[in-house]
Amino acid sequence: MTDQDLDQVIRRMAQTPLSRRGFMYAGGLSAAAAFLAACSSGGSSSPSAAATTSAAPTSAASEAPTASAAPSVAAVVVEKELFMYNWGDYVDPDNMKAFQQEFGVDKFTYDTFASNDEMMAKFQGGATGQWDISAPTANFVPAMRDQGFIQKLDLPHIPNAALIDDTFKKQWWDPTDEWQLPKDWGTTGITVRTKFVKEEVKTWKAFFEVAPKYTGRIVIVDSPDDVFVAPLKALGYSLNSVDPTELGQARELLLALAPHVLALDSDQYNTKIETGEAVLGLTWTGGILELRDKPATADVEYLIPDDGTVFWMDTWVVLADAPHPNAANAFLNFILEPHHQALETMTNQYASCSSAAKEFIDPKVTSDPALYVPADVQAKLEGQKDNSGSKLRASIYEEFKSKIGQA
């Protein structure tokens, strides 16, 4: 009995990660989630559907002469294994398969985390040398660098790094561009089912105002950095504020919102919007944008609030003590090839940081203002700082979380 009990606890500890950007159950469930997804293509989940529709550009692209980089990468011996630690379902399964075939990588292990903080906690707990590649959000890169969790990139072996747009280079998190490669970027915005929500919700301010009318029908991603965006921007402050008075005001807005929230959910928020359980959301674009193409959920709208929101960027990093550095380099170079980037963008629904990929992406996607944000809207976006040291933010978030759904 005790054994079973223990077994259960261990299993639970090992398998709790729920994916932030994923759209399917399996993402958080198994250590090799994406591998499973790749095997079960044509299954019930949305990513495989997305993969099939986007198969055409891939094959078309691979017929074209591929990037000049391939030979120099092949010159080194690529290991037979690659261990990745990433958000759930955050790499296109077809890309993974293609990479494995091209470089003879037999074993592609894909472990998942649910938040940057969880990933950080794992490394702080001493879990180095287990994985080759990870994908933290940019504002976590400096802390990872300072604590020695990541290593400098072997850029000569990743020639495709040159394809990254200048906009994403020389940022505060990596002024010399030698620790990370931009993976993709996105926003945190408001999702509305216009069938059910008649009011115009174009700002965070309006979001807080209409919330009491939709008690129990609001879904919010479970991520402190993103949750603080809403009240701080509604109040006209910086989303990185650590000022006690400003945070105090933000706290009041959050606590007033909490009783009306259906769920804090980084994993299934899109499902809740799809079923209509939730009609209003503070979400990312992943899993949401595709809903607009389904007849039953054509009324879904994702908008970037007029009072501004966060611009976040996820990065690729190579971990310190990576057991398979060559495979890691090969993967990074592979994934940065324009047609692979295109597939990533269409599957994950986050914009690529390389405009070279644009020509391989469905024009419908590149003309979508929710993904490829127009310049005037871009001006309203604010980058993230590393606010994880603020105890006040942490305690406000905890209080908010404990009040969800409590009248």
Partner: protein
């Protein structure tokens, strides 16, 4: 009853121990002790040490000494009281559900006894998380929740995201832990005692109260502890079936370790929780044993 109580104190005199058997004992006990020290004592010691430490620059832990963590451990007790409430309710519901099932398997299942036992064990072969996710579909808007909502004409009705859904998930997940200990005691119980009781004119209820219940009490206690203790640390079921609307001490600890990354404060809270659990379980056992002794005395 008198017979069974007499049987307990009779203990054969110990044969003198040889050096060889002492050595053998050491060897046999060694793996268990190592397991105990490495997987229980050591981590616990780390947690205790950490609970007096400071939060590091990038979160996590930095060496130091402070009592502040314990000061803040007693702030915001709602998650603790919610956990306590849910654990008690969950344990009682498991008890009520497990008793008839265990009774049925032990006394009425006949040849199919092992089949039922296997059926109880089979779910453990599937990940607990997957089984919990399965309830999302069953109780969701396309499942039972939507069906009931349609039937009573309330589109806002839902089961998921309520304490009821969490309780259901809890009873589902922990029920086997309650059934097995009760089943074992029932299985070993001497049936003739029940017959004797009935021959002496006791009705069903008083037979159950005076014969069956005292005999299966150790099973009930074991089962309750096996369910209650892990339930106090539960955090997966409220996150999935409770939509995060049911916020337990386990969720608070996860938040402190993984999101706020304030390990010392989380550790202090964990130590307080462990102490409370320890004291309450000791008290529970003491109380239960005392109860049994007085009953035996009254019978004699």
């Amino acid at each position: 009853m008198a017979e069974t109580t007499e049987a307990v104190p009779v203990r054969p005199a110990r044969p003198p121990r040889s050096i060889r058997s002492a050595a053998l004992t050491t060897v046999l006990v060694l793996p268990a002790s190592l397991w105990y020290i490495i997987l229980l004592v050591l981590p616990l010691a780390i947690v205790v040490v950490m609970s007096f430490g400071l939060q590091g620059n990038h979160g996590s832990y930095a060496p130091g000494f402070t009592l502040d963590n314990y000061g803040s451990a007693f702030e915001r007790l709602t998650p603790f009281t919610t956990s306590l409430w849910l654990s008690l309710a969950g344990t009682i519901l498991c008890l009520l559900a497990a008793l008839p099932i265990a009774y049925f398997i032990a006394t009425r299942a006949g040849r199919r006894k092992s089949l039922f036992i296997v059926l109880l064990v089979v779910p453990f072969w599937t990940s607990f998380l997957i089984r919990t996710y399965a309830w999302l579909t069953i109780l969701g808007p396309d499942g039972l929740g939507g069906f009931i909502g349609d039937s009573i004409g309330d589109p806002g009705f839902r089961i998921l995201g309520t304490p009821a859904a969490v309780l259901l998930g809890v009873v589902y997940g922990y029920l086997p832990l309650m059934i097995f200990p009760i089943y074992v005691t029932l299985e070993r119980m001497d049936r003739t005692l029940v017959e004797a009781s009935k021959d002496l004119g006791a009705g069903r209820w008083s037979t159950f109260r005076q014969i069956t219940l005292p005999i299966i009490l150790p099973g009930l206690l074991t089962g309750s502890i096996l369910v209650f203790i892990p339930l106090m640390g539960e955090y997966v079921i409220p996150a999935i079936l409770g939509y995060g609307r049911v916020f337990l001490i386990g969720n608070q600890l996860v938040l402190q370790f993984l999101e706020s990354r304030n390990w010392p404060e989380g550790a202090a809270r964990a130590v307080v929780l462990i102490l409370i659990m320890l004291v309450s379980v000791i008290f529970y056992l003491w109380f239960a044993n005392r109860g049994r002794k007085t009953r035996e005395v009254s019978v004699i």
